[in-house]
């Protein structure tokens, strides 16, 4: 009888070293984003304004609200080397004021967007996933906020709050909170739509079959799949919030103690004939920053949306 030779099986070849590393979703998105020149330009603009806001005291030649031109008869002088963007009616250096305005714009932009998007995500997720009665109530409320003449109500509330709350309290934060509280509706609706779309997918069905709880499905499965939409909407929301704050300040309902670009435009509007530089530069910065966030938002949409992938 022939003896069967037992051959020890070869250990499996460890291929990990040779195998190319898996590319994560974020990696793919980043690769696509890098190719988009417009989006990179947007990011660059935002970086520039962030830099201005972070080092405003070092960049601005004069302290906040200083009136270097006032006592020496240099109020409302045209741009020169001494005053890069000229001076305004009381001799503020327009360049310094524009630099200090960066922080207010970013503060309101990020803050309002954070508030608005928190509400929008919560409403969108709950409404989209639970459906039925809850969805009905939430969506009717959303519709009220959509049809509401947003700017009018915002102005009234700002005026009322500043009339009731003693001066010096809140200020710019009140403006930020009010903008946030009134501008979530459109985004909530979009997120709800996305949730409805994801909810029908097979992997949600599978997860249900495995006995996952509702909370787990919403936060572990649905949320990550609508995250790309949320990121894009947040970026665009920042742009909108900056525009709204500028409009509110322009109408004189902003925080009078803060230095904002909208307020500078309001002052400038009283004297565009005599001093064009008072308004042109602050407005240029509003436009630039809003453009930055819009470009970034559009770029992120192209980079993150899996349906646009080839």
């Amino acid at each position: 009888m022939k003896k069967i030779k037992l051959v020890k099986p070869k250990p499996p070849v460890r291929r990990e070293k040779n195998r190319s590393k898996g590319v994560s979703q974020w990696n793919i998105a980043w690769r696509r984003f890098k190719k988009n020149k417009a989006a990179l330009a947007g990011a660059l603009i935002i970086g520039f304004v962030l830099f201005l806001a972070a080092f405003d005291a070092l960049i601005a030649p004069y302290p906040p609200n200083a009136t270097p031109g006032f006592y020496i008869g240099e109020a409302r002088v045209a741009p020169s080397l001494k005053y890069l963007f000229g001076t305004d009616y009381v001799g503020h250096d327009v360049f310094s004021q524009v630099v200090y305005g960066a922080r207010s714009a970013l503060y309101v932009g990020f803050g309002s967007a954070a508030i608005a998007m928190s509400i929008a995500v919560l409403v969108g997720l709950i409404s989209g996933y639970y459906g039925g009665f809850v969805d009905n109530i939430l969506m009717r409320t959303t519709e009220i906020f959509l049809v509401i003449p947003f700017l009018l109500i915002l102005l009234v509330f700002l005026k009322v709050i500043t009339a009731v709350v003693p001066s010096g309290v809140g200020g710019l934060s009140i403006v930020m909170i009010m903008i946030g509280l009134f501008s979530w509706a459109g985004n909530a609706r979009i997120i709800r739509g996305e949730v409805l779309r994801v909810k029908e997918s097979e992997f949600i069905e599978a997860s249900k079959a495995l006995g996952a709880s509702k909370r787990r499905i919403v936060f572990r499965h649905i949320f990550p799949n609508v995250l790309h939409t949320i990121i894009v909407l947040t970026t665009l929301m920042i742009a909108t919030a900056i525009l709204v704050e500028a409009a509110v300040s322009f109408l004189g309902f902003g925080d009078p103690a803060a230095i904002t670009w909208g307020q500078q435009l309001q002052k400038a509007n009283e004297a565009v004939k005599e001093a064009w530089w008072e308004g042109v530069f602050p407005g240029l910065f509003i436009t630039l920053l809003v453009l930055g966030f819009s470009l970034l938002g559009n770029g992120l949409r192209d980079a993150l949306d899996p349906r646009l992938r080839e």
């Binding site: 700017l151 109500i153 009234v156 500028a246 109408l251 435009l265 004939k273 436009t287």
Partner: protein, 324 residues
């Protein structure tokens, strides 16, 4: 069709009530209406305050006051202004200012649609061409410039440096200033700059919308079929594609119109245009609540009507939408 319209109208009622409640709450947070009403009268006595409070039902509970307000509203009575023109009725005030607001907003809306649709089509027909890139870039920039900044720049260039048009207002004060002595021409002359700026501001998002909607339609199979059957490019684009591409545009017109009306305070302030928007800013600064509520109600109703018309047209032009 009529059933559909009635359903839409019934559907709008809770929306309208919700908005009224929000404004009403704001008006009561602001403080005692009697105090706001009599702020300009230093000689008022405690008794007359009391009498006023009873007269307006302010001693009653809040929900009762709200129903009182509703009852007056449905009789077309919005109360009298606290601070403007010696307590004129709010309806008279709005009546005096609304026409100018409509004149500006509607001319801008129509002009921007007339310009945006052809531009959007051309841009979509030659996607990624030089024309398309410059159109989309300009439009994107247009959506980023605040309308008041655009207004200020336009005033600096066209009113001050070039001197072609007046910088603000709706009419010359002196009759000698009327071009060719005509009041109507004077109105047009004053309308030109605000309408142009507002047109440009509204134009940008509409161009982007028409373009993307057209691109989507041009990708459809039936367009390929139309091309394959030998129809000319012109006929394919204008006869087959355009009709379907305009459907989303129609939906947005209603929304845009509401947005433009709500943005009236800003546009009218830049151009010193005496419409309801500027009236609203003035009233809000003075916490003049009857006027504030009146204008909000007015603009909300206009927005809701615009939405209703949009909904109906939408159902009418898109056979895929069932009107039941």
């Amino acid at each position: 069709m009529i059933r559909y319209i009635i359903r839409r109208i019934i559907y709008l009622i809770p929306l309208f009530l919700g908005i009224l409640i929000i404004v009403f709450v704001a008006s009561r947070i602001a403080g005692d209406p009697v105090r706001l009403m009599t702020v300009q009268n230093p000689h008022i006595t405690a008794e007359s305050r009391q009498a006023l409070s009873e007269y307006y039902g302010l001693d009653k509970p809040l929900y009762y006051q709200f129903f009182l307000f509703l009852a007056e509203l449905f009789q077309g009575n919005l109360g009298n202004s606290y601070a403007l023109r010696g307590g004129t009725a709010v309806t008279t005030l709005i009546g005096d200012y609304a026409w100018l607001t409509f004149e500006l907003q509607i001319s801008a809306l129509i002009l921007s649609l007339l310009i945006a649709i052809p531009i959007g089509i051309m841009s979509a027909k030659k996607q990624y061409s030089k024309l398309d890139v410059s159109v989309t870039t300009t439009s994107l920039l247009g959506t980023c410039i605040p309308v008041f900044y655009m207004g200020i720049i336009a005033i600096i260039i066209f009113a001050y440096f070039l001197g072609w048009v007046p910088a603000g207002g709706a009419h010359s004060i002196l009759a000698e200033r009327y071009p060719f002595g005509s009041y109507a021409l004077d109105g047009l002359w004053h309308l030109a700059l605000p309408a142009a700026v507002l047109t440009f501001a509204t134009l940008a998002p509409v161009v982007l919308l028409v373009r993307s909607s057209m691109l989507e339609v041009l990708r459809q199979d039936y367009i390929l079929a139309a091309k394959a059957s030998g129809l000319s490019d012109r006929s394919v684009v204008y006869k087959h594609a355009l009709r379907n591409a305009l459907i989303p545009v129609v939906t947005y017109v209603g929304l845009y119109f509401g947005g433009m009306l709500a943005g009236a305070p800003v546009t009218e302030t830049v151009f010193n245009w005496p419409g309801v928007g500027r009236l609203f800013v003035e009233a809000t600064t003075k916490l003049d609540f009857p006027v504030i509520m009146g204008i909000t109600v007015f603009i909300t109703i206009m927005t809701l009507i615009a939405n209703l018309i949009t909904d109906i047209t939408y159902g009418y032009i898109d056979p895929r939408i069932r009107l039941e």
